[in-house]
């Protein structure tokens, strides 16, 4: 066999070897990826893993809509802490007044933090009931909007869109609420609140139920809502 032909054969063999090696690399990389595609990280992540914020909205009205949102908390924190636009400045939201109907929310949160467990605020009106309590370091707010149920029936019937009975439950760790109001009186420190929220592994945050819609917001270490 001439020397040039031998060199050519060796070169071809070398190229074939390189191509085979690359093909092997592709297949080895594709195999776990294919497995991941079949079961896209549905299992619960171990402790210390990424926290995920989940939003679930179900409408049973004529729209019959279903919305699911899953956001990694680190993504929310990173983006929030880097945005400087309008009233949002690196995780801090600037607002004009934190007082609501002359109620000092900041002061209430501070007082609740050092208080014992129990129900602290109860407001009962003809169409709405509000309960604010503290339980195991959690601030619990329960609002029942009786809507048309306790309204004048005739008025409700005449209305094109009669109000619906609605239940709202909000659960926030007091340390998170405290961090939210940790800045000056005209700002909300959302970034700090999210940082503290991330210390919790699983937490139910908001639940809204009425006749036509349910909204559920919670945080855990799963990537899915199962």
């Amino acid at each position: 066999m001439p020397a040039s032909q031998t060199r050519r054969t060796i070169l071809l063999a070398a190229l074939a070897l390189v191509a085979s090696a690359l093909l092997l690399v592709v297949l080895l990389r594709a195999a776990p990826a294919a497995q991941a595609a079949q079961a896209p990280a549905a299992a619960a992540a171990p402790s210390g893993a990424e926290r995920w914020l989940h939003v679930k909205v179900d409408s049973t009205d004529d729209r019959d809509e279903r919305v699911r949102v899953n956001v990694p908390l680190s993504l929310a924190r990173t983006v929030l802490n880097s945005v400087q636009h309008g009233k949002l400045d690196h995780g801090v939201v600037h607002i004009d007044h934190i007082h609501m109907d002359d109620v000092d929310v900041r002061g209430i949160v501070k007082a609740l933090k050092s208080a014992q467990d129990g129900e602290y605020v109860t407001v009962e009106k003809h169409d709405c009931t509000v309960h604010v309590s503290k339980q195991s370091g959690m601030l619990l707010i329960h609002v029942t909007d009786h809507g048309a149920a306790k309204h004048d029936r005739a008025d409700a019937d005449q209305s094109e869109h009669p109000r619906r009975h609605q239940n709202v439950d909000v659960r926030v760790p007091l340390e998170v609420a405290d961090a939210l109001f940790s800045g000056s009186s005209d700002e909300l420190n959302v970034g700090a609140a999210l940082d503290l929220l991330a210390r919790h592994e699983k937490i139910e945050l908001v639940s809204v139920k009425d006749g036509e819609q349910t909204v559920h917001i919670w945080m855990d270490t799963k990537t899915t809502q199962d």
Binding site: L12, L22, A33, P40, R68, N70, P72, T78, T223
Partner: protein, 141 residues
């Protein structure tokens, strides 16, 4: 000849492996509707930025450095996610799904007019943003 083919295949594999594949599939649902389905190596997206005139890009991106930085940060965070459904909207009329699958951002829309499927490797998108940041004269995050 076989060597050249193998070399070409090797190079093509390397290009595809580098930044993944961009997939766009749009199917109109009307009887004479069009169907566009294309695959592009993710590297092509970065080539596009390099081919565009730098001065024009800088003009368009003036004052957008912060937006690019946020997009870059968001993509870097998304790159860490192995796989997840980020947004799902289901109604009798339409279905929308935004997900992360194997390092790609996948968007699926199915409505009465058309079905759309877009797969964009996050790494390629991040590199595009980095190139745009460089062209816009902003700091790389």
């Amino acid at each position: 000849m076989i060597g050249k083919i193998l070399l070409g295949a090797t190079m093509a594999t390397a290009v595809v492996m580098k930044d993944g594949v961009i997939e766009v599939n749009v199917q109109e649902k009307r009887p004479d509707g069009s169907h566009v389905h294309l695959y592009l190596p993710g590297t092509v997206a970065t080539w596009g930025v390099h081919l565009a005139p730098e001065r024009r890009i800088a003009e368009h991106l003036r004052g957008k450095q912060q937006d690019l930085a946020i997009a870059h940060l968001a993509l870097r965070e998304l790159e860490k996610i192995p796989g997840a459904d980020l947004v799902q909207v289901d109604s009798p009329r339409e279905h929308v799904n935004v997900a992360i699958r194997n390092g790609s951002l996948v968007v699926d829309v199915d409505d009465p007019g058309e079905t759309v499927h877009v797969r964009m490797p996050i790494r390629a998108a991040r590199k595009v943003i980095e190139d745009l940041q460089a062209d816009a004269g902003g700091p790389s995050t």
